[in-house]
């Protein structure tokens, strides 16, 4: 039988549920239901929504493209270099995003270490849409890499060995055997990275600014509208809530599935 927690435990457990639930409830409560369309049709909202989708999806594609080889490298390495690179990959998760933005500015800004070379070539990343994507890529890559590396490490190496004996090159083993086997982890890592990119604020505002139509993504627009037009800010916030709920629904089986199997074990 299940031994249920006593009432006082239930009371303690209820407190964080209120903290988590109340803001969501308040947001829905204050939503100007009669004027939803109007808020979404405003110029600032439309451009922010479009920009957010384009930049966050671009950042996610970059995460997959560069994150897969990186995760593969990390999963096979044992040396000091591997540990250093992994620590570097973890850093953006722990680092305050604003600090990440400052660091990006110092590296890729117009007078930055790398940025001044790029400027000579006529490329400016800071305060551009490309800079938004770079900032989002910076903060979301760790989520993808960690998710995929964990899956790679858990995978039985004998699968790859069989393919190797049958004459497949290392790249072929990876693309034909390994990647399809860890597809669920790649999908989950992509969704996590995308969610992180979509919500990015600190690094973006520091490195790319908040220029409407160019760098003002949804979270930046919400922050801006809070002063000028709070009702519209609430509507745009609600859009992000809907997307967040969609992410949880997408990952439901993955997260709660893990919980279930752990309980059964």
């Amino acid at each position: 039988m299940t031994i249920r927690p006593p009432r006082w435990v239930v009371a303690i457990a209820a407190a964080p549920v209120i903290v988590l639930g109340a803001p969501l409830f308040a947001l829905l409560w204050r939503l100007p239901w009669s004027d939803l369309g109007g808020a979404l049709r405003s110029e600032a909202a439309k451009s922010a929504l479009g920009l957010s989708l384009i930049t966050s999806l671009s950042a996610t594609v970059l995460c997959v493209l560069f994150g897969l080889p990186l995760a593969w490298l990390l999963s096979t390495g044992t040396g000091v270099m591997t540990r250093v690179i992994r620590a570097l990959c973890l850093l953006p998760i722990v680092l305050p995003p604003v600090v990440g933005g400052v660091a990006l500015l110092l590296a890729f800004g117009r007078r930055g270490v790398v940025g001044q070379w790029l400027a000579d070539l006529g490329i400016q990343l800071s305060f551009s849409t490309a800079g938004v994507i770079l900032a989002q890529f910076f903060v979301s890559l760790p989520f993808f890499v960690l998710s995929v590396e964990a899956a790679l490490r858990q995978m039985d190496i004998e699968f790859a060995e069989v393919a190797h004996v049958h004459g497949a090159s290392p790249a072929r083993v990876f693309t034909a055997v390994t990647v399809p086997s860890i597809a669920p982890a790649i999908a989950a890592g992509s969704v996590l990275a995308w969610a992180r990119a979509l919500g990015e604020f600190g690094a973006t505002v520091t490195f790319a600014g908040s220029l409407q139509g160019r760098t003002q993504t949804l979270p930046l627009a919400v922050f801006n509208l809070l002063e000028s037009d709070p009702a519209d800010a609430v509507v745009l916030s609600a859009v992000l809530v809907v997307l967040a709920v969609a992410v949880i629904a997408l990952l439901r089986d993955r997260w709660f599935g893990v919980l279930r199997s752990e309980v059964q074990r």
Binding site: E158, E161, A163, H164, H166, A168, R172, P180, S181
Partner: protein, 196 residues
């Protein structure tokens, strides 16, 4: 059955395990011996999977190998048919012959109705049949089979074994089988190496 000159001498040490044996120039060789004698390790040496092993091939390393590990290790994301086709794809065979031969092999091991199933959807014996088909599909020069018929039900084991053995003999491959089953030795007329 003709000799294929796939002779080799093998030396391998890992922890308590010391392996030293000569692979004779024979179409079928059986590796026998008690649990822990190193049958699986010996196969892995021949497969080129043990970097610490010293393997000297009398006529150079085999140009191609087929491998059925004890745990079969069918690729989980691929259907049974795709698993069988995989070794031919890796060997660079053309699409038409891969399709044709996959169908033949599915029939050879009696799993044609399961062709589109995934490995986790079929039984252990059906997985082993698929693994056998995958190992022999690209007609490799050297075949390495670890307990290849152990999971197949008694009723059809003899039939599947005789078909596989005939297929291998006709392909001209050298085949090394790690086995506990005396029937495997009898049917293949194998030279046996007893590891201890």
């Amino acid at each position: 059955m003709t000799g294929t000159r796939m002779a080799a001498s093998i030396e391998f040490t890992r922890g308590e395990l010391h392996l030293r044996f000569d692979l004779p120039d024979m179409p079928f060789v059986a590796l026998t011996g008690p649990n822990g004698a190193g049958k699986t390790s010996a196969l892995r040496c021949l497969a080129g999977l043990e970097q610490a092993a010293r393997v000297e091939w009398s006529d150079g390393e085999p140009a191609s190998r087929g491998y059925l590990p004890q745990r079969v290790m069918l690729y989980p994301a691929m259907s049974l048919a795709d698993n069988i086709a995989s070794s031919m794809r890796f060997a660079g065979l053309n699409k038409a012959s891969i399709t044709e031969r996959t169908a033949e092999l599915l029939d050879l091991v009696d799993i044609a109705p399961l062709a589109r199933r995934r490995p986790h959807e079929v039984s252990g014996g059906q997985r082993q049949r698929t693994g056998l088909a995958r190992a022999i599909a690209a007609t490799p020069k050297l075949l390495l089979l670890d307990e290849p018929f152990s999971a197949i039900d008694m009723a059809s084991r003899a039939r599947v074994r005789s078909r596989i053995v005939k297929y291998i003999a006709e392909s001209g491959a050298s085949c090394v089988i790690a086995t506990h089953d005396p029937n495997d030795l009898e049917v293949t007329d194998a030279a046996s190496i007893i590891l201890s």
